[in-house]
Amino acid sequence: MTYSTKISEILSVKTAGIAGAGGLGSNVAAALVRSGIGKLIIADFDTVSLPNLNRQFYFAAQTGMKKCNALKENLLAINPLARIEVHDCRVTPQNASAIFSECNIVVEAFDSAEEKSWFAEYMTGHFPRIPLVMGSGLAGRGGFERLKIQQADNLYVCGDQESDALPHAALTAPRVIMVAMMQADTVLGILLKEFNYDHHTE
C-alpha cells in the first residue's frame, strides 16, 4: 500500500470542523478536501462580497451568495463525493457544542480577536480533547520568517501573533493563504499522528 493510499484511508474516516468561512476557513476547507478528509462541518453567517475575492476561496459569480453555500459548491467542484455539512449561522456559545461536538478536530477561522478569544476558551473548557487549530497574526505582507505554530496542549496557534488586521494592515492573499495552509498542515499532522507521517517518511 502506498503512503498516499494509507493517508487517504486514515483521513477518510475523520471529521474536521471549520468555524468561519472567510480567508482562513475557505482556504483550509479547500486544502482538506483535496487531502481527502472524510467530512467537513462548516459554519458561517456571512455573504460573499467583492472585497472578499482578494483572498477568499470564492468566485465573482458567487457574490451575494451565503458563504457556506458558495463554499460547499466550490468544494464539491473539487471532489463531488466530499461530505460537506454547512451551518448558515453565527457560531455562538449557545450553538458551538451542537455544531462541533462530533468533530475529530476543529479549525478556528474567525475574523475578530474577540471571537477567537471566546471560542478558544469555550473549546478548551468544554472539549479539551478535541484539538483546536487557530489563526492569529496574518495581516500585511512579508515577515514570513516570523510565522510560527505555538502549541499549548490541544491548542495550536498558527501565525505571527502580532500583525493585526486593523487598523494598520490589509489582509492579502499570500499571507492569509499561507497561514491557512499552516492550519491545514497542522490538521493533517494531528490526524495522521497514528500513522506517524511526516515529510521524512516519504
Binding site: 468561519g20 499549548a152 493585526d164
Partner: protein, 67 residues
C-alpha cells in the same frame, strides 16, 4: 526562578510572580490573550492574583484580528 514560558526556559528575578507581573516583565501588552498555567486555562480576572512558581509551565498566546 526558571519557568517554561511558551515552550522555552525563561528566568525571572522573583521567586514567585503573578501572571500579570510576568506579562509586564515580558512587555506582553496585547488585549486578547489565551493563558494556560500548568495546562489549566486562566481567566483574565485571575491574571493579577494567580501565582507562578519555579518549574511551572506558562503558555501565553496573543490573539489578533484577521481571518
Amino acid at each position: 526562578m526558571t519557568i517554561t514560558l511558551n515552550n522555552r526556559q525563561e528566568n525571572f528575578s522573583g521567586q514567585e510572580m503573578t501572571i500579570a507581573e510576568i506579562m509586564q516583565a515580558k512587555s506582553f501588552h496585547f488585549r486578547m490573550l489565551v493563558v494556560k498555567l500548568n495546562h489549566q486555562l486562566i481567566k483574565r480576572e485571575a491574571y493579577a492574583t494567580t501565582l507562578v512558581k519555579a518549574g511551572d509551565r506558562l503558555d501565553i498566546i496573543h490573539l489578533v484580528s484577521g481571518g
